[in-house]
Symmetry: C2
Subunit: 258 residues, 2 copies
């Protein structure tokens, strides 16, 4: 059992929690807690190392999770806390392998609605949108360069396990996505849009662009040529919707209308 806070295991986990550079170079990231780790374990070879405290082990056993093929390392409660992004650990910490989707596979989404996140910054919003996309049966989520890292701990946690259910394409320019899916409609969520979400025909697959929470997409660029600005009806007094709330409304409509 690892008990020393100076253990190289602790150093390694802390680095993967805090450094995007370390994650990107090693193609590894950290997942904590039973919900996420259980989903990760369903994918062969996804978990490189699983750190468990005594109570963490009990919880995994109680949930009926088979650990026979897993590289399990026992740790003390103190070490687990040091390895955790939260103040106290749940006693279950996994080093996982990134599931990197190559841009060459974008074409396989030819029959699917696709969510495109443009420069999304808030980790809670990002993770929640992925979770909702998973719930609504969306085939993939694509993010622009400059978006938050989906393998950072706060995003991983917010996905509530969905990170292992639905592919995420990172760092894809909208122009590249549009080239890969040339017959898709392109819709842009905009409070002052020309067309109501209620009037969209969902039978034809579309790219749905959700803009950065603070910055809008640049007008008049080639990237947005032929894109239709869609608005969600807002009869009340609020100026705008939280991005994850707006995305949930759109994805529910996609799911209903398909």
């Amino acid at each position: 059992m690892i008990e020393s806070l100076h253990s190289p295991h602790v150093v390694r986990v802390k680095a993967l929690l805090s450094s995007k550079k370390d994650r990107t170079e090693s193609k590894l990231f950290i997942a904590e807690g039973i919900q996420g780790v259980r989903e990760a374990l369903l994918i062969e070879g996804e978990v490189e190392t699983l750190y468990l405290t005594k109570s963490g082990t009990e919880r995994m056993n109680k949930a009926g999770i088979d650990l026979s093929a897993v590289n399990v390392v026992e740790v003390s409660e103190k070490v687990a806390d040091a390895m955790s992004d939260a103040i106290t650990s749940q006693g279950i910490v996994a080093i996982c392998r990134m599931m990197i989707q190559g841009a060459e596979t974008l074409e396989t989404l030819a029959a699917s609605h696709v969510i495109y996140l443009n420069e999304i910054q808030d980790p809670g919003n990002a993770g929640t949108i992925l979770r909702t996309a998973d719930a609504m049966g969306i085939s993939a989520v694509v993010t622009s360069p400059g978006s938050v890292d989906f393998y950072s701990p706060k995003v991983v946690r917010s996905t509530a396990g969905s990170l292992w259910h639905i592919p995420v394409y990172s760092g894809i320019e909208i122009s590249e996505l549009r080239k890969s899916l040339p017959t898709h409609n392109v819709y842009l969520l905009d409070g002052a849009g020309d067309k109501s979400l209620f009037d969209v025909d969902f039978k034809n697959p579309a790219i749905w662009i959700f803009g950065n929470e603070a910055r809008g997409l640049k007008e008049g660029t080639e990237d947005l040529k032929g894109a239709t600005r869609i608005s969600i009806a807002m009869p009340g007094k609020a100026e705008s919707l939280n991005l994850a709330a707006a995305a949930a409304i759109v994805m529910h409509e996609i799911s209903r209308g398909r």
Copy 2:
């Protein structure tokens, strides 16, 4: 201009930021930033004191906000940071008066759909749900005892100004709400519900109960007698939706179906 970090103003603001007890006793709370404070100022007498830095004042002037009837106190950047819930302040900090809704006015919601939040804990979810309710023209949000304080800084911030648009009733038992609105349908959001959200008739006003993120409402209690469990269709692999995402989907349906 207040420059000392030991000023009683700073002590007072910090107390209102951190202590629910202080807020409840004084019936005051803190709002920061231009979006919230602008909305607060639209209500006569709502802002007790407005602390502004030089740059905060410039931003208010630039936004065309009339400060002539407001008790403005100038503060240094350092004092504003000390008065802020965030790491650095936007230079705009207001002491606001709570807008307490008495339970005796619940009857006025007789023709309206009402959102009931049962033991909601997450401040981001709480604020986002209020913001969405405002956007969708919902008449009121009602919360149970044991819910997060809607006047705590993280919730106030997440409402993005909606706190001043739509009434919030706090600490109301579901039984009391049902007594005040006896002809309302009662719906409970439940992943394993009997009835689909798509099949609900929105013409009749209803109480929509959203449960605590971790704990469900107790089965078989008098409180839930005659309540229908409603499920949102989830064709994908996710186990459940984030509460604010689920609430947004429901409220959009209410808005559409009314």
